[in-house]
């Protein structure tokens, strides 16, 4: 957990120092009406994966923005998911040889929340913190192969062990999601910005919640 929040602490420290050096009253900057950016991230849950999406926000008060973060993480499968798939593959191997399996749980999500930015005197960098709630759509994708051929759709046959996949290995569900994160937005030129960011997400999944860390970069425009 210490490692999990490390990027955020760095961001907060940076923001705190900047705030202490600021003597001018906080006010929206001319180009702070809003922003839109595309993000690409490394994603860490029980597995390491990738995440990408779009984030946009607009200012409602000086330094305060409402934002929407819509994205897709390729795999957030907990260890229990992979273990369950392995268990079923073991059953399949009792009636077939050369059995293989894959277990992935991609998540598509949308989060809405608030983002607080601070100005740093003498710097063009704008640190920020953000938090929000949303919804994650989890899709459980367990596939089973025999001699390289996908037999997932035929698992209920005698030759494949009359297997019934439960919702632990198939189907999809929508679960609430909490997000907390931070970063530093750096203007490049004109309205173009780069956003170095880290996110902690908690997806309230069954039978156990999923902790997801995303760290990456966003490139967008501010207006």
């Amino acid at each position: 957990m210490k490692l999990l929040v490390a990027p955020l602490i760095v961001t907060l420290a940076f923001a705190g120092a900047a705030s202490a050096q600021t003597s001018a009253p906080l006010r929206p900057q001319p180009a702070d009406a809003g922003y839109v950016e595309a993000v690409g991230q490394a994603a860490f849950s029980d597995v390491t994966s990738q995440s990408y999406g779009v984030e946009a926000g607009f200012s409602v008060r000086p330094h305060l923005q409402l934002y929407a973060d819509i994205g897709f993480t390729r795999d957030v499968a907990p260890t229990s998911f992979s273990d369950a798939a392995g268990t079923i593959a073991g059953g399949l191997s009792q009636v077939q040889s050369n059995v293989g399996y894959t277990a992935k749980e991609p998540a598509t999500f949308g989060v809405f929340g608030i983002r607080y930015s601070v100005n740093v005197a003498g710097s063009r960098a704008t640190p920020y913190l953000k938090t929000g709630f949303g919804l994650a759509h989890l899709k459980r994708e367990a596939t089973f192969t025999v001699a390289g051929a996908d037999v997932t759709a035929n698992l209920n046959q005698d030759q494949y062990g009359n297997i019934v996949l439960g919702s632990d290995l198939s189907g999809s569900s929508n679960k609430a999601m909490f997000e907390f994160g931070g970063g530093v937005a750096l203007p490049l030129f004109s309205h173009l910005l780069i956003d170095l960011q880290a996110r902690y997400d908690r997806i309230f999944a069954d039978p156990a919640g999923i902790n997801l860390i995303r760290a990456g970069v966003g490139i967008g425009v501010r207006f």
Binding site: L3, L4, A6, P7, G40, Q41, A42, F44, S45, D46, P78, T79, S80, A84, T87, I88, G90, G91, L92, Q94, V95, N156, D158, G161, N162, I163, V164, L165, G166, S167, D168, L169, S170, L196, A198, F204, A205, D206, P207, A208, G209, I210, N211, L212, I213, A215, G216, V217
Partner: protein
């Protein structure tokens, strides 16, 4: 792309667990498909290799049907708890004889009703009944030789019985806790007999009974009523002389036959006294010693020994030692 050095872990959710388990169907283990089961071996036990499940609390449903499509189910055993040792067993109620049956099983686990596993078939054999054998002889308290032939009347049977055999048991207790001799013989005409292959102990009270067997179909009758007998030595029903055989040799004249004496008396030859004397000679007695032992041990005899010609005289015969062998000679005069 920036990659941060982070770790994370899953943690139990506060929400209720609505996830259902995945289930690999149980696989039939016994009886093997195509098994022929004797009607008398019922009740049949069905055994499956336990299902594999990602959930807990697995229970099993067994279905037995008269047709392969399970349109005519005859028994369903539901909610059977998972057995230990990797297998689960359920005992069926009695099934009708002489029919084919199909069975399969499924598991329910973690909120998921699994699929039925492969269908296996077994056949219950025909219903066969055998009546109880009736003893003919020896009946209770009989005295017999050391190898009596035990005889029973053949049983009657219903159904398509196979070849019938009879199991004879001879024991030293009426409870047959100690069986001395057992023999299985094929059925004879109208009656069936069994003779022990070795001598029973003289003077011992034995009990015997017989059961009819249809080995092909694994059917057996109830045992017959118990009878008893006591083997006796025809030569020495009382005191048994000492010694071992091998000291004398039989000559001519000992063949069993019915004769008429010189005075018209019909008798069976060899007479019992002559047999006893020879047995004593064979045990190492000298001729006079043999006669003396008989007279003093409850086997009185009128035999007289004549040492000169080595002859032992009796009322209608005499024994003569000729060339080292004891001949039995019919007397031609008084």
């Amino acid at each position: 792309m920036v990659v941060a050095g982070c770790t994370s872990s899953t943690a139990p959710s506060a929400s209720s667990n609505s996830v259902t388990a995945s289930v690999v169907a149980p696989r039939p283990a016994a009886p093997a498909t195509g098994a022929q089961i004797k009607n008398g071996d019922q009740p049949v036990s069905l055994v499956v290799q336990n299902a594999i499940s990602t959930g807990t609390g697995t229970t099993y449903t067994f279905e037995v049907s008269g047709d392969a499509s399970f349109g005519a189910k005859v028994q369903t055993k539901d909610g059977v708890a998972e057995g230990s040792g990797g297998q689960t067993t359920v005992k069926l109620d009695s099934l009708a004889a002489a029919r084919d049956y199909y069975w399969h099983a499924r598991a329910t686990s973690g909120g998921t009703v699994g699929a039925f596993g492969p269908t296996y078939k077994f056949t219950i054999g025909p219903a066969i009944t055998l009546s109880t054998p009736v003893p003919i002889s020896p009946l209770t308290n009989a005295q017999t030789g050391p190898r009596p032939t035990l005889r029973v009347s053949n049983v009657t049977r219903t159904g398509s019985a196979g070849a019938i055999s009879y199991k004879f048991e001879i024991a030293t207790s009426a409870a047959f806790s100690t069986v001395a001799v057992t023999g299985i013989v094929t059925e004879g005409v109208n009656e069936t007999g069994f003779t022990p292959s070795s001598d029973l102990t003289n003077g011992t009270l034995y009990f015997w009974r017989a059961s009819a067997l249809d080995i092909t179909n694994g059917i057996s009758s109830l045992p017959s009523s118990t009878q008893s007998f006591t083997p006796v030595n025809p030569l020495w029903p009382g005191a048994l002389p000492p010694g071992t055989s091998g000291h004398a040799r039989l000559g001519p004249g000992w063949a069993p036959q019915t004769l008429v004496s010189f005075d018209g008396h019909v008798f069976d030859s060899p007479p019992i006294d002559e047999q006893r004397v020879f047995d004593l000679l064979d045990r190492g007695f000298d001729p006079q010693g043999a006669l003396n032992w008989m007279n003093s041990n409850g086997y009185p005899t009128v035999g007289v020994y004549y040492p000169g010609p080595q002859v032992i005289g009796f009322p209608y015969t005499y024994m003569a030692l000729v060339n080292g062998a004891w001949e039995l000679v019919i007397r031609v005069g008084g």
